[in-house]
Assembly symmetry: C2
Homo-oligomer: 305 residues x 2
């Protein structure tokens, strides 16, 4: 099956689940609920949840169990975008071709919408049958409480000061400065890499991956995560503005040091290629089963939007 | 023992634990870690964690088990203050006699510091032995995974769009408007009440409270939570500016409808008294054991800072 078909199918699964987990747009107070729907259903590619699903499929056909935490990852990713776009942060007016949350709902509500999505992610992860009846009862409830706690812990670590937030801080503080390769590596691993790695690991953990497989997939995800940030940097220069729905050249405008500013365009592409090959290598032992994951990896790292 | 002594003792327990759970100020990237310490150790009274501890003591002498989730509540409370003080929200320059987070660290870091504290709260709640060795291994690890998940779920609900965040949204959107008694009730119950109720409930749940006791304490906490917001409104008019460390009259300045603007000063005080008496009534069946909780209730509702 073509990777685009698989991506579309899995995206549909995730979108359906997200509609289930998100409170209705008409709930009181409706402004915040509209803000949540606006950002969550803004045309995201759902790369993180799909990574979790495809990783789980390496080990078990019961990938439905992975839907709730995969959705939680997407909510955390979305919250980080809303806060990242704020005037005090990257000050972006457009994302995916639409006005950013604070441009539509105002800054106060954008801050609260981000807070709400982060909070909702953990509510879903701890979800009880009564609330998410239908989803949690048939899927998430099969997962033991111990595994759930481990996943909540890992996701919180990945999203926190030693993960994504740490990366955002260093990224912000590097603006207008020249940085070392070491600092760039920290940003790549944390700002983007941490959630990617957590997505892959939760898929593996829930599907009962053994220690060695988990270790291989963690290495795979770390490499993919670093390369992911490079792709973001490359897209800001060479991406398809129409497909991305946002202006290029923001990094240069914000004087952000990136892989491209440090190694040049060719150097950045070479680094992406290296990381791509190293990541694929970690999938070698999974044989044909990992073909879809290989294709997803290629899609993620060589997309033009 | 005098209530002030008990408050001081419990506050010391919580502060010690918070120092344990918070990553060191010198950790990389240090700016965000300094921002976390700045706000968490800003002289808060620790009312929410102390409520959790004293509720737990009604049922069991093992109140140490409640320390990790009690700390999580304080971190969530602190995150909400940081975001609440932002220019786009209440735009407060001072809190507890010190500059607010965004005045010291800038808006971007204040947004991220709030995000980080919310995330850290859930990390602690899901905490694994290896990380919080010493705390979690001796205390939190005694709690079953099922109870932990239930508590994570309840806290997430209390902090989310159907809890605190919902209250903040309605509060913000009521500025400059005249509101109904029903809307004021919603703000009181959600903006402040939700975290208060969650604090009391987690203390009871962890200590093995029965269904009837849990129901009574939930009612007690709901009444206390609503009254708590009234006290905040009264303090903004009659509080001790020096002790509070912030300017009075902000509600009037922001044209915020409060209990006072709706019912007048005497009406608000009467409402506090009514809620206080109703709350105490829910503690009747606990006998002498609840004396400390009764004193705490009086302290919370009749403080001048």
């Amino acid at each position: 099956m073509h990777i685009n078909t698989i991506l579309e199918e899995r995206k549909a699964v995730i979108d359906t689940a997200l509609r289930y987990f998100l409170p209705d747009e008409t709930e009181y107070p409706s402004s915040i609920h509209r803000a949540l729907h606006y950002s969550v259903f803004a045309g995201g590619k759902r790369i993180r949840p799909i990574l979790a699903l495809l990783t789980a499929e390496l080990f078990s056909p019961d990938w439905e169990k992975v839907i709730p935490p995969a959705c939680a990852m997407e909510l955390i990713h979305t919250y980080s975008l809303i806060h990242d776009d704020l005037p005090a942060m990257d000050n972006d007016d457009y994302r995916r071709g639409r006005l950013t949350s604070h441009k539509v709902f105002g800054e106060a509500l954008a801050v609260l919408a981000g807070d709400a999505l982060l909070t909702l992610a953990f509510e879903i992860l701890a979800g009880v049958k009564e609330k998410y009846n239908g989803y949690a009862s048939s899927y998430w409830n099969d997962v033991t409480a111990e595994v759930k706690l481990k996943i909540i812990f890992e996701i919180a670590e990945a999203a926190g000061v030693n993960g994504m937030i740490g990366g955002q801080v260093v990224d912000l503080e590097s603006e207008g400065k020249s940085i070392t390769a070491e600092t760039l590596d920290y940003i790549e691993r944390h700002k983007t890499g941490a959630l990617i790695t957590a997505s892959v690991r939760l898929g593996a953990l829930i599907s009962g991956a053994g220690r060695q497989d988990l270790s291989r997939l963690t290495k795979y995800a770390d490499l993919l995560g670093s390369a992911f940030q490079i792709v973001d940097d490359l897209l800001d220069i060479e991406g398809d503005e129409e497909k991305m729905g946002k202006a290029k050249g923001m990094d240069a405008k914000n004087r952000k040091p990136t892989c491209v500013s440090l190694y040049g365009l060719d150097g950045a592409k070479k680094r992406r290629e290296e990381l791509y090959n190293l990541a694929l290598k970690e999938l070698d032992d999974f044989g044909d089963k990992a073909d879809v994951l290989r294709e997803l990896t290629r899609f993620i790292l060589y997309r033009d939007y």
